[in-house]
Point group: C2
Chain length 214, copies 2
């Protein structure tokens, strides 16, 4: 685009432009901002990028990010290992954890079914989820298990869009044979939302999912 900038700056602009939601103009501004920043800040960013993948792996159980074989949530004895919340992405785990509401564990699919983009079940951590539940059921059979009365629950928390719904439906069918509790997160009006402005699908979901008040 602009051979007007020195090469080292243009290189950084090009790299920034490759990131999602950063256009060439923003990339230029970011590069200029860094150029006027102290050396320490620039070094900090370079190091952080460099170290990004160091010591990072996926949890062998839930496929969340982890610094060990198993993630902090999976090894936490206080979490209910028989309540598995299935999400699309790692950031969904972060979002749910921030609520402080959920005491179970997670399973990160790393995407959603999308025939258009050629993403099938084999590209997601679905077999891993089924295997995980298979093992949980196996533990049930052991007489030593403590809380054998506690039902296994899979909460399908994929996004409430086309692909997320397809993924939830697909998983539901796969999970039915396990004879466990399967739930889907509520879809309805967002808190602070306006009935007036809600689209029809959200509204009809909100009606279908209505809860008794008295």
């Amino acid at each position: 685009m602009s051979s007007f900038l020195p090469k080292s700056i243009q290189d950084l602009v090009d790299e920034f432009s490759k990131l999602p939601s950063i256009g060439p103009k923003s990339a230029q501004r970011l590069a200029m901002h860094l150029l006027h920043s102290p050396e320490k800040r620039i070094q900090g960013l370079a190091d952080a990028v460099n170290n990004l993948k160091k010591g990072i792996q996926f949890c062998g159980k839930c496929w969340n990010l982890s610094e060990d074989n198993l993630c902090k949530i999976c090894v936490d004895g206080a979490r209910e290992a028989r309540q598995i919340c299935v999400v699309e992405e790692i950031l969904d785990v972060v979002a749910l954890e921030k609520t402080g509401e959920f005491k179970g564990v997670y399973h990160v699919l790393h995407g959603a079914l999308s025939p258009v983009d050629g993403i099938g079940p084999e590209h997601l951590k679905m077999a891993e989820l089924l295997e995980r539940i298979h093992q949980l059921k196996g533990e049930d059979a052991l007489p030593s298990i403590e809380d054998e009365n506690k039902e296994i629950e899979v909460i399908l928390a994929t996004n409430p869009g086309m692909e997320g719904e397809t993924t939830a439906l697909y998983l539901m069918k796969k999970l039915v044979p396990f004879d466990i509790k399967i739930t889907r997160i509520a879809r309805g009006l967002p808190v602070g939302g306006d009935l007036d402005y809600a689209d029809e699908i959200t509204l009809s979901r909100a009606l279908q999912g209505r809860a008794q008040y008295n």
Copy 2:
């Protein structure tokens, strides 16, 4: 914010968050995007950040970015050295160069006057501009000069906002004693703009700056 992410990722999120116009949510998405990117891309970004300031300096004449003592524009013999376009930022030079319209040279102030932010003339490359014009005038006095009839022109191309206007006005007063041509870029309706939607100040500027058509 979130101790839910591994440290190396949180570090990068923190660094990204320090950049202008990138909030914590965007920073998280950028970090996640990079995490799923091939090693080569990550390395490319880290290197670009690292090399940003390498071999970069300011042009000793116009304070544009340069890989040498003088920038490409200043050493270009085809450019009219007696027509100086004064801009606030380096990116303004890039923007003007893209038009391919301007054949003169630049002077980058590196900011605009802003009493609120405590930015006075001493923080900008103003003394350098005056010195530069002083020298140009000195060359005029020499009998050897080729195009001595060509008038020196300073185009004040600071932004058409409060601070840019103040800066232009201040410079104008400082430049008057030099007995040179001083111009200000036109302020009016942007091309493709709608009279209807223009604010009053822009409209009144557009009227004041009207050009004769016949």
